[in-house]
Symmetry: C2
Subunit: 377 residues, 2 copies
Amino acid sequence: MTKPFSFHLIATDGAARAGEVETAHGRIATPAFMPVGTQATVKAVTVDDVARTGADILLANTYHLMLRPGPERVAALGGLHRFMNWPKPILTDSGGFQVMSLSQLRKIDEHAVTFRSHLDGNMYELSPERAVEIQRLLGSDIAMQLDECLRLPATRDEIERAMQLSLRWAERSKRAFEGAKPGYALFGIVQGGDDPALRVESARALVGMDFQGYAIGGLAVGEPQAVMLAMIETVAPELPADRPRYLMGVGTPDDILKSVARGIDMFDCVMPTRAGRHGLAFTRFGKINLKNARHAEDHRPLDETSDCPATRDYSRAYLHHLVKSNELLGAMLLTWNNLAYYQNLMQDIRTSIEAGRFSERAGEIQEAWVKGDIPAL
Amino acid sequence: MTKPFSFHLIATDGAARAGEVETAHGRIATPAFMPVGTQATVKAVTVDDVARTGADILLANTYHLMLRPGPERVAALGGLHRFMNWPKPILTDSGGFQVMSLSQLRKIDEHAVTFRSHLDGNMYELSPERAVEIQRLLGSDIAMQLDECLRLPATRDEIERAMQLSLRWAERSKRAFEGAKPGYALFGIVQGGDDPALRVESARALVGMDFQGYAIGGLAVGEPQAVMLAMIETVAPELPADRPRYLMGVGTPDDILKSVARGIDMFDCVMPTRAGRHGLAFTRFGKINLKNARHAEDHRPLDETSDCPATRDYSRAYLHHLVKSNELLGAMLLTWNNLAYYQNLMQDIRTSIEAGRFSERAGEIQEAWVKGDIPAL
């Protein structure tokens, strides 16, 4: 019999938390970074190699999968885990964010959002109930409520209206999720833009509904980092300590360190994978642009101390050559390196929280980025 | 101390031969298929995964590498094996074929071929001596003489002129190769188009120069398979039994079976890698086009009996989804599958030659292709 979905704290260090989420498909050590597998694939890397980087959980996008291949088809094929050959936990978003950023002719009313597919022009309707149904068909370990996510800046009235609609949709999502099998969870999403009072109101209302976890949405959409951090500081104290907290769509390694310091447990972002397809490598020494001609004769790997083959076994000169030659292997190796870097960073964070030296370790990590790369010999 | 380059036969079965080539970077079991790593990468697959398919040797293209990153730079970086992180044998072509097919404003005279780079418009000269020098800078275990490769059909006069020029270039290439370290070899290339008398003349002259191996060039350039096989039948008996025979740029699995039956030991072709990037899978059941909608709900992997993860661990429905979605992982998995299929085929060929049942086994393999894929349940 599957264990129920659960979260427990292993250690805290200031506001930073190390913990463990238990799901139908296994455990997630937190703070956790979730690589993004938009169309049921983490771009340019196999699931076996994603697993080798240490990732416990992937994120997949409901919007893309509802359009192609379709949730009913994925269910008939045994669910998303089997479809993409990833036996570990999967979180799906609700589709709302991407309906609003990718689709055309969308119309939002109390009932649902209606939109035209960017693929074939067909009309689709996404209601809170359908978003939950899709995520159950996919078999997501962690599903997200449908919400309305505005771009900042927006007026206070717009932000409040969207936040209140998202709360009503949260209730409907929760009702639709009733009867889910043990080990599966639905998270509510705190909205409220950059307005602290609205954020608090949203958080308290959601906590009153008793979700299994809480996300902070509507950030990392263009606002300054200081605004994002202020909103986390406003919201985190409102959330129960015994539930995981997920900051959606974040972020840079620096965003992650600063958000963990403020009590966040889970992250997702396309940054490591997208950057990998554009010639950028994340390393202990900061970000390295492999397009730069200074790498053309550099024997050194990105980081000889890494246990990731992509990071350790190929020279910067070779990576430069691949990127300049538009070879797929360049995207593959840099994506793999970047995912390994992010997972090593999360492991480093967890270890230092457990050791009670998170803030010291975060300082060391940031110092190494600032110091930058060692010049070639 | 490195052993000298050598070839010995393990078994023969009719004209088919199983053998072993010894090079500076290790052994090659023959008949061998060499995956093509044009720009110092086998497109869309890591060298570790290429090695896992069972490939003993890769081919890299001198033309591409002389233009970018340049042979002197590769040499400064420790040679091509180290550059691309492939410790096993490498064969390079001479660059001649691609100068003639890819570059503009080429001019051939007795001394060399002069051409304009397709990358940056700079002028380059490739002489037999420079082709050998480049391949030594790259560190190729097996280098090829510079030759002039015509497209068929061509007049007998054109074919004869190019063949005679290639013979004079063979002599110059051989002189230029003198003093190479033990374990490294230079192969001569038999030319002569589709003219048996010219082919025999070319083969005899090259054998008189005593090369360490012999290639058959100028085939698989658009002529019918029957012409190609007739030329192999003409040339193979002229070649010494104790030297490896390499059929350049070939081919389909069927071409390989029929060429092995006529005494060929080595092959290279972009087919498995290129087809993998275009949604085509080679399998025991023949070629499968994953773009086809009939795969959209097919649970089955390409071949559940395979030991290649790409072949065994992903459903056809998922591969179809990846191909339709233009996801890089589709190209990655199908390339990997195709290389594994080719290497499994070569292993099957070698085993059956050693068991004295090659012709029977070749018949079974061809029958399975013709029978085709098992319909979905």
